[in-house]
């Protein structure tokens, strides 16, 4: 992989992925869900906040008014369209995701469609535009974050205006107080810090729609829009592992076995099986909660006479009696 640029590093330091071991949670805990934030997180004063909806009429709703509307709850897996970007070659310069830009949350909110109907969807309407409170410069253009949906996509029953995540208010970084939620679409569609909704009679041509989030090979190309999340599966092998083995000594019965996962820096006792016969080896097991990373596993036995396996043994001519501790390097994938 080519070296990471300063621009990419700055993005990677602001945004974060879901560590893959968090695949264990059906609902990703807040703080582990991936985050991709284009501009600064806006500072929103909830009592002052209102959502403007402009159709044939203009509506304005505060947070309390939105919460009084019909409530829906959905568990939704959200993924960044750029997940896997850092594995492409050449690597497009943007947030350098490997595989971890995903998360699943329990969202609560109110369905979008009835609100659009109340505002009045005119005969000429073709798209719905969503505008967030976040603003910045991208592609040389100062802009508010904006994305649109075709009417038919905006009308789907699973599209919500969400004000709760995992049973609490939206955290600031996930769009407090209200965000759009478009299940099945890449995350950029679900506009955060939602401020305005407009019914459009022409397709939206803003930066995030016509330049960002399009599949194309060159800058000149129009390309095709990135929309639905294509299939992916991910796995982990971290977690509860049992390291099992056997120990023996001809000098005296085995009294303990210890295991190290750091190459002998620190040791923890293994459980010993019952020793049924004096001259047979003794089984042992060590329950290891394997966190992702690199480890050097070792085991050492001690007998009742106090003889212990050494880390190093002195050399001898015949190569006899080398009972140095076994050492194995292990990589745990998260």
């Amino acid at each position: 992989m080519e070296g990471i640029s300063l621009e990419e590093l700055q993005l990677a330091a602001r945004n974060h992925g879901m560590p893959l071991e968090a695949l264990r949670y059906p609902i990703t805990p807040v703080g582990l869900h991936y985050l991709l934030i284009h501009y600064d997180v806006p500072d929103v004063d909830a009592p002052q906040w209102s959502l403007t909806v402009r159709g044939e009429r203009e509506l304005s709703l505060g947070l309390a008014e939105l919460k009084e509307r019909p409530r829906a709850e959905l568990t939704v897996t959200m993924e960044c369209a750029g997940n896997g970007r850092a594995r492409l070659d050449p690597r497009p310069v943007s947030q350098p995701w490997l595989l971890e830009a995903v998360g699943t949350a329990r969202w609560a909110g109110t369905p979008l469609r009835p609100l659009l109907d109340e505002a009045g969807v005119g005969e000429g309407a073709v798209e719905v535009l969503f505008t967030g409170l976040d603003r910045g410069i991208e592609g040389g253009i100062e802009q508010r974050y904006q994305r649109s949906l075709l009417l038919e996509d905006a009308f789907r029953e699973e599209v919500l205006l969400a004000y709760e995540m995992n049973g609490g208010p939206l955290p600031p970084q996930h769009g407090f107080p209200v965000r759009l939620l478009v299940p099945g679409w890449y995350g950029m569609t679900s506009v955060k810090w939602l401020a305005e909704i407009d019914l459009l009679e022409e397709p939206f041509e803003g930066y995030q729609q016509s330049q960002g989030y399009r599949l194309r090979q060159t800058e000149d190309e129009e390309g095709t829009p990135v929309q639905r999340i294509v299939p992916r599966s991910l796995f982990v092998t971290a977690g509860e592992q049992v390291v099992e083995g056997r120990a023996w000594s001809g000098l005296a019965p085995i009294s303990s076995v210890e295991v190290s996962t750091d190459g002998g820096e620190s040791w923890a006792p293994a459980e010993l099986d019952f020793q049924e016969e004096r001259w047979a080896w003794r089984g042992w097991r060590f329950r290891w909660h394997a966190e992702p990373g690199s480890y050097v596993l070792c085991s050492r036995a001690r007998d009742e006479a106090g003889n212990e396996q050494p880390v190093e043994v002195p050399w001898n001519l015949g190569g006899y009696s080398n009972n140095a501790v076994q050492t194995v390097s292990v990589t745990v994938i998260g």
Copy 2:
């Protein structure tokens, strides 16, 4: 590690260790127990075979006569004194064991002591010499395989003349029809293909006692004898492993996940969790019997619309929508 010499390779091809995954068996199955054979396996005709015991009197016993004597059974862990030799530096030229020269068997036989008493242990006796039927040249000396024990060691109640291993007759390579069994001592002590037992009034000075199996730094040194097995523990992580993950698609519900352990050459279906909600990811698990070796784990998801994760995706300018299968290299230790 220095390159293996032809002599070492020839030894390694004849002798074999216990693959470490066989630590799972409390009693090592025949054929997996380690073997160290100095010379050729002798061709023994059991009806013709007899054991000669020379004390104050000379006894001669056939196999049937030995089996009529009191029977004892013991489970015994046996290890080669050279286990670990190949990890010493410089590496002594002999059978290049890493860690696997060990095994545990259920042995049956008759205790040695009463037989020595019947032959008559004279007042001048200091050692008991055991002579096998195997013969060859070692250290430039043509010899039969011979080892001795001090009287006090030979008299221990756990020392047997063994004629059964794991419930059957001794296999040829383990000393058929009868071998000495000295629990707690390195394997060279338990003389195979036993033919003669002699009570000695002088310490035995033969090759395997005075030159072989001594801890020394130079050829000139007398050294100290290798006798009892010093403590050792070994472990495995091979075995039943569960690879778990999650899969999702915004296009249609996930219909299958497959797992490959060979980098995508072959695929096997994973079990899918119940899909509770359409927009949430779907859990899956794959039970993998991990044999020692190197693997490349991959998973690929397919949805009900037939969309499948590709092994490679075409490059695009924005780095969007890269759902190429995840690939992780894993080493399983035996």
